[in-house]
Symmetry: C2
Subunit: 243 residues, 2 copies
DNA sequence: TTCTATCATCGAACGGCGTTCGTTGAAAAC
DNA sequence: GTTTTCAACGAACGCCGTTCGATGATAGAA
């Protein structure tokens, strides 16, 4: 006679009915769910509770696989580099190679909402990411750049890319709550705002306002990239003396 | 000199009515207290409750003077530019002028903990800050740079500065909880970490690791600055065609 | 002086957050 | 068949930003 045959007392009826997860929880599945939440709610809406509910699981279940939220963000950051192949260094076309690296980085970050903000809080020096850094360094050192320049150039580029995409994000999300406005409508508002400035006090703003508003983000990104690469190129084969 | 004749930015909601002078609590005092909290607890510890307690006041009292936490951060950002004078443009020394602008920006952000992280979430296009942007644009347009380059150069520089200081902050705070370690101790640990990499797979990392670890932040900042300015200079008086 | 209207501040509450911890029950190991 | 293990649970803790009705001091009117 086991307790199995006994009836269940009514006060216990609401007891747990633990439908064991058909698919076991893993770090990978948690990161997958985190990206779903990130894309839907943005970084500010990315909470452990929300990720858990996405998986049909309790919050605390996550903590068996992930130390804390920071580690989850770290894992998401690592995803950025999954299958991110850098080419063999080709001293003839190093500038274009670096530009392609930057473009690919930007594209990957744009693929998930607020990804740039996550990226800015991380460094690529974990063991999993060091191979990527090594490949980038190989590209940089094959250019003829002095090592001390090559050593910081990767960091500079990443800072530029992160900052640029983060800024894109800010503008996109600034207009989020409001009615669906087209980008051209937003541009017109900005033009009107800048155009209404007193001309005697803001001659330079007025002179470039349309340029600032009209140029696409793609154009701005490429131009900034070109500025950095021209600056780098100026160090090739030259005994450098910064400042 | 008033802000009254300035247009309202389109993204801005209706601002609060100005507070009466007779009450002891003011926006200024709230911002002062917020900086005290920021320096003591960092951005993550900067809560409305903590600011209120710093003033010996209830949380909700703050909301009579400040719409929300975001507005408080905005006001703190504005403080960055208080008394930030840019020189008259001098076409002979524009590179040094821009470098001094960058150095001053970095120094101001370093003056308050996590200030760079606050700065990264803001734009300087509010009416109060536009005069500063105008002065910077004046510097940039006096260089002989094409307008389309001048229009994005200020943004680029600010992105670089914000990103650089934010990264400095990350490293500083990464070692915060631990026992007081000297920077040289931290450097040694990093050198040991990089030095233990397998030489066949990480030849480039090993070649520049010491450079990456040993150079001071000041040196790195100056070098990055110089790279950007050389890139900008390459556009002077040249019909530009970005990539 | 007394009354009244204003308004800065209070105190409690709401819903949400990251994280911890003792409990539980199904599967794995024996 | 028994024991062990351990992933998931659920409740709780102490935070957070923000809201709202109550309170009480004060300035101006009578």
């Amino acid at each position: 006679m086991t307790e199995r045959d006994m009836p269940t007392p009514p006060w216990e009826r609401a007891r747990r009915r633990p439908t064991r997860a058909r698919v076991p929880l893993t770090r990978e599945r948690i990161v997958d769910a985190a990206f779903v939440v990130l894309d839907q709610e943005g970084l500010d809406g990315l909470s452990m509770r929300r990720v858990a509910s996405e998986l049909g699981v309790t919050v605390s279940a996550l903590y068996a696989h992930v130390d804390n939220k920071n580690e989850l963000l770290e894992l998401m950051y690592h995803r950025l580099f999954d299958g991110f192949e850098l080419p063999e260094h080709d001293p003839e076309h190093w500038q274009e190679q670096l530009k392609n690296f930057a473009r690919e980085s930007r594209a990957r970050m744009q693929h998930h909402r607020d990804m740039a903000r996550i990226s800015m809080g991380q460094t690529p020096f974990s063991p999993e990411l060091l191979p990527h850094v090594e490949r980038l360094l190989a590209l940089l050192r094959a250019t003829g750049l002095p090592d001390r320049v090559a050593a910081i150039a990767g960091d500079m580029l990443s800072t530029y890319i992160d900052g640029f995409v983060a800024e894109e994000t800010i503008w996109r999300e600034r207009y989020e709550g409001e009615d669906v406005k087209s980008w051209s409508e937003i541009r017109d508002e900005m033009k009107a705002y800048f155009g209404a400035l007193p001309p005697d006090r803001f001659p330079n703003m007025l002179a470039v306002a349309n340029l600032m508003v009209d140029e696409t983000n793609d154009y701005r990104f490429e131009l900034g990239l070109d500025i950095i690469l021209r600056g780098l190129a100026s160090y090739v084969e030259e005994p450098p003396d910064a400042s």
